[in-house]
């Protein structure tokens, strides 16, 4: 449809200008600021992805990705993070309808799945280091541990944040400021899942299939 025609069809009183409506509510300002932070965080990950893509062939005679990566572990990690993103969404629905039990349950499942992801990743890292594939072995492994480790660090920080948020819900209830922070947490958790989609595709699947 022609855009000009589509704009003409919108009744003007439904779209007041921002100056007419006054300053935006705090929930929108807080979430938008956090959205900007998340985008800058994703740009940082883009730099790590770029350095990984450049260094992936620089194995210095050491092990390659195809020799190191276990796809079963990666598949389980992916399912853990994906389902935890879903339960995080269910948790934010419970928060919006102010149900304590469902909020705690959603947070508990989200935390358990995130912790399962992290423990699998730590086990993978330690088994790689045990066979001599440590970050100092080659440029490829340095880039690998930086990229995947930075994502794992974000997941660990998210888990700590989730505990702090549940304590705040228990102490303050569903106060407006607690709800703003919970909205930021769910944005953070979903963004981590988006980064993980890039990680498992670029690092693990492309590393094994090429």
């Amino acid at each position: 449809m022609n855009i000009a025609v589509a704009i003409d069809q919108i009744p003007q009183d439904e779209l007041p200008s921002a100056s007419e409506a006054g300053p935006a509510p705090k929930r929108i300002v807080v979430a938008y600021g956090f959205w900007i932070f998340l985008l800058s965080d994703i740009i940082m990950f883009a730099a790590f992805f770029a350095s990984y893509a450049v260094l992936v062939r620089s194995t210095a005679g050491g092990p390659t990705g195809a020799q190191l990566f276990n796809q079963t572990t990666v598949a389980i990690e992916t399912v853990c993070l994906l389902v935890s993103s879903y339960t995080c969404g269910l948790m934010s629905l419970a928060i919006n309808s102010r149900r304590y039990l469902r909020t705690y349950l959603g947070a508990l499942i989200t935390f358990a799945l995130g912790a399962a992801f992290l423990s699998l990743e730590i086990r993978e890292f330690s088994s790689m280091i045990a066979i001599g594939a440590a970050p100092q072995r080659s440029a490829f492994l340095s880039a690998f541990f930086t990229l995947v480790g930075c994502h794992g660090l974000h997941v660990a920080l998210g888990l700590i944040w989730l505990i702090v948020m549940m304590v705040q819900v228990a102490v303050f209830g569903f106060a407006a400021r607690v709800q703003h922070r919970l909205l930021c947490f769910s944005l953070f958790w979903h963004a981590l899942d988006i980064v993980w989609v890039g990680v498992f595709t670029v690092v693990y699947l492309m590393g094994v299939s090429s």
């Binding site: 938008y32 796809q71 890039g198 699947l205 299939s209």
Partner: protein, 129 residues
Amino acid sequence: MTDARHERAPGDRPSREMHASAPSELLVYTIGLFVAVLLTATSFWAANTTLLWPGGVLLGLAVLAIAQMGIHLVFFLHITSGPESTNNVLALAFGVLIVFVVIAGTMWIVADMSTNMMMPSGAPMSMQH
């Protein structure tokens, strides 16, 4: 309803007051999970199968990953093309532009440099000091 006069916060769903026909939020998340699982399973299958032409697998994996990121943005982060989500979409578009410049630019420049660094064997190393 004052919220309807403003942009929507990123991650917030469209308000039911504005869109009476909006599907239930639980259904949105469940559809998102279903499609994401489908795309992930396809990615893992494509990386391991021998049925596909190997040269096309990398491109296919990239397309599947970008599609899944889009699914996450729409169904989990509730980014829409509606007028109340313009600021969020514009910020996202700028972020995607920078991500593209950083990744594609780095790979282009470094590939170009490594091509130039390759000396033909036997040629005089006049460029080296």
